[in-house]
């Protein structure tokens, strides 16, 4: 086993990306994710990589599109307002079927919002974000270890399905330090015959493009893309189940709030309340099946999130409204406390509201 080191979540993303063969980082600084750029600025020049601070987020994401078209592993990172700026480019990347990693270390919104942690970009991340019919695979780390592991996994998924993958973190996980065992060095093992690598006069031109003026062809590419999405929904769902065996209440929470919820669940169990947690690790594809199965066993769900109830809608869809879904939230950069979550669990257990 490799030695564990202490790292900030943001630094773990950067180091894991480098170890995954990413040699192109294009970004623009914004709190609370700037450590990613700072780390890349220091390391990339030493390993023949490219660190480039673009003149804007829009410029950075279009550079990512360009690198992605060559089949090289590439990433950008930003925080909520910056991710909004990148949406046009992300839609183009999705529409061109090229792989890339986009990291969103979320902060409070809407607008310029604040710089404290948030999960209120859930809709934007899971429902498309930019224009047109498309999805990102969205991974939600809850520890510094997962910041590293899921970054590594994200590059593989992006290559495998030829699509943009988002790491949806938040300011807390980005800023905190925990022991982390860094992933092994690796490179892409996926053949990329579609990539723009120069024909050397030995093959036909490859074309990377998201423009289809032929409507039938555009419809066909959309249908084909959604066939791929169906495979992803079948094969790539990730979640953690915690104390669910005999649970009568199911908390659903991801990222930092899942950790807060675990504290509350352990305390509630001490008080004799049968409560468990389903922690989505992928929020697209959403872990519908385990939630639907839980719906037959529990009397209620509680969505613990740092938004006004965005994931709550996915829980309702997943459990087919078989059981009530309650909301326990803080927003605007505030984080729910274990006591707040415990109080909600006790309230739901008591059957009020």
């Amino acid at each position: 086993m490799a030695e564990k080191v202490l790292m900030k979540g943001n630094e773990a993303i950067a180091e894991a990306a480098i170890r995954s063969g990413c040699r192109h980082y294009l970004g623009y600084p914004i709190t609370p994710q700037t450590e990613i750029a700072a780390y890349m600025a220091k390391r990339m020049p030493k390993i023949n990589g490219v660190f480039l601070q673009a003149e804007s987020e829009i410029s950075a994401i279009n550079m990512v599109y360009g690198v992605a078209a060559t089949g090289k592993r590439v990433m950008t990172s930003s925080s909520s307002p910056g991710i909004s700026l990148k949406q046009e480019g992300i839609s183009y990347i999705a529409g061109s079927d090229v792989p890339a990693l986009i990291v969103n270390v979320q902060r409070g919104g809407p607008g310029l919002g604040g710089i404290q942690p948030s999960q209120s970009d859930y809709f934007q991340a899971t429902k498309g974000g930019g224009h047109g019919d498309y999805h990102l695979i969205v991974l939600t780390p809850a520890s510094v270890q997962e910041m590293a592991d899921l970054t590594s996994h994200a590059f593989d998924l992006a290559d495998k399905y030829r699509m943009p993958v988002m790491l949806l973190a938040d300011g807390t996980i980005g800023q905190m330090m925990e022991p982390v065992e860094l992933p092994e060095e690796k490179t892409s093992t996926v053949e990329k015959p579609w990539a723009l690598t120069g024909t050397k006069m030995q093959r036909e031109h490859n074309i990377i493009n998201s423009l289809y003026l032929n409507t039938e062809l555009l419809e066909k590419t959309n249908f084909e893309r959604f066939e791929r999405y169906k495979q992803i929904e079948e094969n790539e769902v990730m979640y953690e189940s915690f104390m669910m065996e005999d649970a009568e209440i199911c908390v659903v929470s991801f990222g930092i709030t899942a950790r807060v919820s675990k504290n509350a669940i352990i305390e509630a169990r001490r008080q004799g309340i049968k409560v468990g947690l389903i922690r989505p690790i992928t929020v697209w594809p959403f872990p519908k099946q385990p939630i639907l199965e839980a719906a037959d066993k529990v009397k209620a769900f509680i969505s613990v999130e740092m938004s006004m109830g965005q994931m709550l809608e996915d829980i309702k869809l997943a459990c087919e409204c078989k059981k009530p879904v309650h909301l326990c939230n803080r927003v605007g950069g505030m984080i729910p406390s274990p006591e707040q979550v415990l109080a909600k669990i006790v309230e739901v257990e008591g059957g009020k509201n």
Partner: protein, 178 residues
Amino acid sequence: MKTEILLAGFGGQGLLFAGKFIAYKGLVEGKNLSWLPSYGPEMRGGTANCSVILSDDPVGSPIVANPDVLVAMNLPSLDKFEKDVVPGGMIFVDSSLIERKVVRDDVKAFYIPATRLANEIGAPTLANMIITGKLIKEAGAVSYDNLDDALHKVVSAKHQNLFDLNKKAIECGYNYAD
């Protein structure tokens, strides 16, 4: 066992660094841990604090609302966080910078003139490590053994003189009796 520590003071006093050292000490001892800085529009001279949790079990929430141990290196920090310490907890006060005493009588207070001591031992920027030395002695969250292992993780080998000074400061605080 689980210990939640909050270190608070002015930016530039090295509270984040002290927290990182304690975290590494925990790592070397095989503990689970988290280190979380306050981050905001802060700068040198502004307020800065960080939370460190050391635990035998995996750490859930990394946020410390009610610390077992508070280190206060300026008056605003003591004013702000004194009430949050758990009953029976500990408060470490830099008594060269904070004139008032801890008001609560259900916590243990330790007064260390860390800034003055730091000047006396020729390490004026290391009051943070002096108070950390006292914390190691009294709080029992991490041990005093093998300081070098943890210190090497936070002070690079290139700066041997800084390494020695940090160690001297920790020892000074550890051996200080009020």
